[in-house]
């Protein structure tokens, strides 16, 4: 067993927000068939949103580009999904939430409390939703206020998911820590765009969106590395993790656990695969505890 901000995980792989997290049944499947140590829901807000028009996600040569637009049924609509996930997944279920202000974050968190999420993850990093996400997450004062507001009304751990689309992510991480965050999650997608040259149209319905997958792994590793130096609280690494090697790299950079998103495209049991791969690596290299990996790169000088 593996402990992360007080949650007990059977392994350090976590389903990332916005991936296979719209329904409770899907979250259960990722936990049971996929082998995830914990699952994060789709980001939930205060009112139902249908999101951006399609195409909302395309596969590129390197990674994926998406602009879903935070579609969600609102917290009242999502409660039954959360309950299903809690009842049948047998792993910690983290509720991802978003809002346009500290009060809205608070409202959504309180609204989901009856579903008994094991933790909250605050989405202050979605790169393509006006007034939400990165609009908040690139402002340290707002990040601190939002974090403090949610901490104030819940008694489960609060994680804050950060955007890499800032000059200095550690400054945002520090704000989250000051606001009382129990962990930060880095990184959300990198702002990106693709254009269909046959027509001239931007490919995404929202014109631009966020880049995920292999393309951004080095960006994520760097952010995790910097946050590990800057913060006291754990850093959860996410961004382009698609193999056990990636997970080990992320942990050596300073991640206490990893989240996996786009890589479910390749196979659902990527979580088991990573977790088995890490165990085998620890054994082969003679590490006695996975904790020895965390932040190892900082010691190698």
């Amino acid at each position: 067993m593996y402990t992360l901000t007080g949650l007990k995980l059977k392994n350090p792989t976590i389903l990332a927000a916005g991936v296979l997290g719209t329904t409770g049944a899907s979250l259960c499947r990722v936990a049971c068939e996929g082998g995830a140590g914990a699952v994060v829901t789709k980001s939930i807000g205060s009112t139902p949103k249908t999101g951006h028009p399609n195409p909302s996600m395309v596969k590129l040569d390197c990674g994926f580009l998406n602009a879903m637009g935070l579609p969600n049924p609102s917290y009242p609509g999502f409660l039954q999904e959360l309950e299903t996930a809690k009842k049948d997944s047998d792993v910690p279920v983290i509720a991802s939430i978003f809002g346009g202000s500290p009060d809205e974050f608070k409202e959504v968190a309180e609204g989901l409390l009856p579903g008994k999420p094991d933790a909250f993850e605050l989405n202050v990093s979605c790169p393509h939703a006006e007034g939400y996400g990165a609009a908040i997450g690139s402002n340290p004062c707002l990040v601190e206020a939002v974090t403090a507001a949610v901490k104030d009304v819940v008694n489960v751990p609060v994680w804050v998911k950060l955007t890499p689309n800032v000059s200095d992510i550690t400054c945002i991480g520090n704000a989250a820590e000051s606001g009382g965050a129990d962990a930060v999650v880095a990184i959300n997608t990198v702002k990106g765009m693709a254009i269909d040259i046959e027509s001239g149209y931007p490919v995404l319905g929202n014109r631009s969106g966020g880049l995920s997958g292999k393309a951004i792994k080095p960006v994520a590793v760097k952010c995790v590395y910097d946050l590990y130096t800057a913060l006291e609280i754990p850093v959860i690494g996410v961004g382009g993790v698609s193999s056990w090697q990636d997970a080990v790299e992320m942990m050596m950079a300073g991640a206490t656990a990893v989240q996996v998103g786009s890589a479910v495209y390749d196979r659902l049991d990527i979580f088991s695969e990573i977790s088995i791969g890490i165990e085998a690596f620890l054994k082969r290299r003679g590490y006695s505890d996975i904790k020895e990996l965390i932040g190892l790169a900082h010691e190698m000088v």
Partner: protein, 259 residues
């Protein structure tokens, strides 16, 4: 994969509200039942079952399909695919029953053809509101026997496909492939469940898709959590036991909507 640029080379009017758009690209590896994401630029991108290697057959139901209906030969749209799991082909000598309702005939016509080529005896139950709305009757007829039903009795049996099915010896078929409006599919599902034939049957589901490639989870069905866009759209009857089929679907926001 970014959408490829498909140019309309021919348009067939299949019924007053259904048209087939042939395009200048052949999906050579396409399995009947697989779908493509059709990008009507500046409007939306919608999933559409392939009605042949180089065509989609579209019912005018919303903004994107209305825009599609404005296209003329030479116009183009974006296409990604083929995606998802199609219908299983029969082996040589097996008997196949195709049950198609309305525009659900679109992915089943290439299936009936492929099944026939695979050496299967193919029978089709083809239903529609009225004679004018029957899609691909000729293609099905070229693949084998066709039993027609229409709601208004303007052709074939008056009533629903289930009325035809009641008169057939369903146990004689090795495979049963179903596609049509959900209300029709759930009737067929119950009938096949009663006859203990779900193991031989496959159903093609329609749900709201966002990513279309199995990542976002918008199209997952209860209680299995299976993704219609990736684990489906074609599911075996057994996979749909105890499912949301015929009960509810989810809208673009993820809210449950009764069927």
């Amino acid at each position: 994969m970014l959408p490829l640029n498909a140019t309309v080379v021919k348009i067939n009017e299949e019924s007053p509200s259904v048209r087939t758009f042939f395009f200048d690209y052949q999906f050579e590896t396409m399995k009947a039942g697989q779908f493509v994401m059709v990008w009507v630029r500046g409007v939306d991108e919608i999933p559409m079952g392939l009605s042949s290697k180089n065509s989609i057959t579209v019912q005018k139901v919303g903004e994107a399909t209305s825009k599609l209906f404005e296209l003329k030969e030479g116009d183009s749209f974006g296409l990604r695919g083929p995606f998802g799991v199609g219908f299983s082909l029969p082996s040589k000598g097996e008997k196949t029953l195709v049950i198609a309702g309305g525009v659900g005939a679109a992915p089943l016509a290439p299936y009936a053809e492929a099944a026939r080529i695979a050496g299967s005896e193919v029978h089709t139950v083809l239903g529609a509101r009225s004679a004018d709305d029957l899609i691909f009757e000729k293609r099905f007829a070229e693949a084998g026997n066709v039993y027609v039903s229409t709601d208004d009795g303007s052709k074939g049996t008056k009533g629903f496909v289930t009325d035809v099915l009641n008169d057939l010896d369903l146990s004689a078929y090795d495979r049963i492939a179903v596609c049509g409006p959900e209300i029709m599919m759930v009737s067929v599902f119950r009938l096949l469940e009663d006859r203990k034939l779900l193991e031989k049957s496959e159903f093609s589901l329609h749900r709201y898709f966002k990513c279309g490639i199995g990542i976002c989870g918008a199209c997952c069905i209860d209680r299995s959590g299976l993704r219609v866009c990736r684990d489906g759209p074609v599911f075996s009857g057994v996979q749909l036991l105890d499912s949301e089929l015929g009960k509810y679907t989810r809208d673009a926001s993820g809210r449950r909507v009764k069927i």
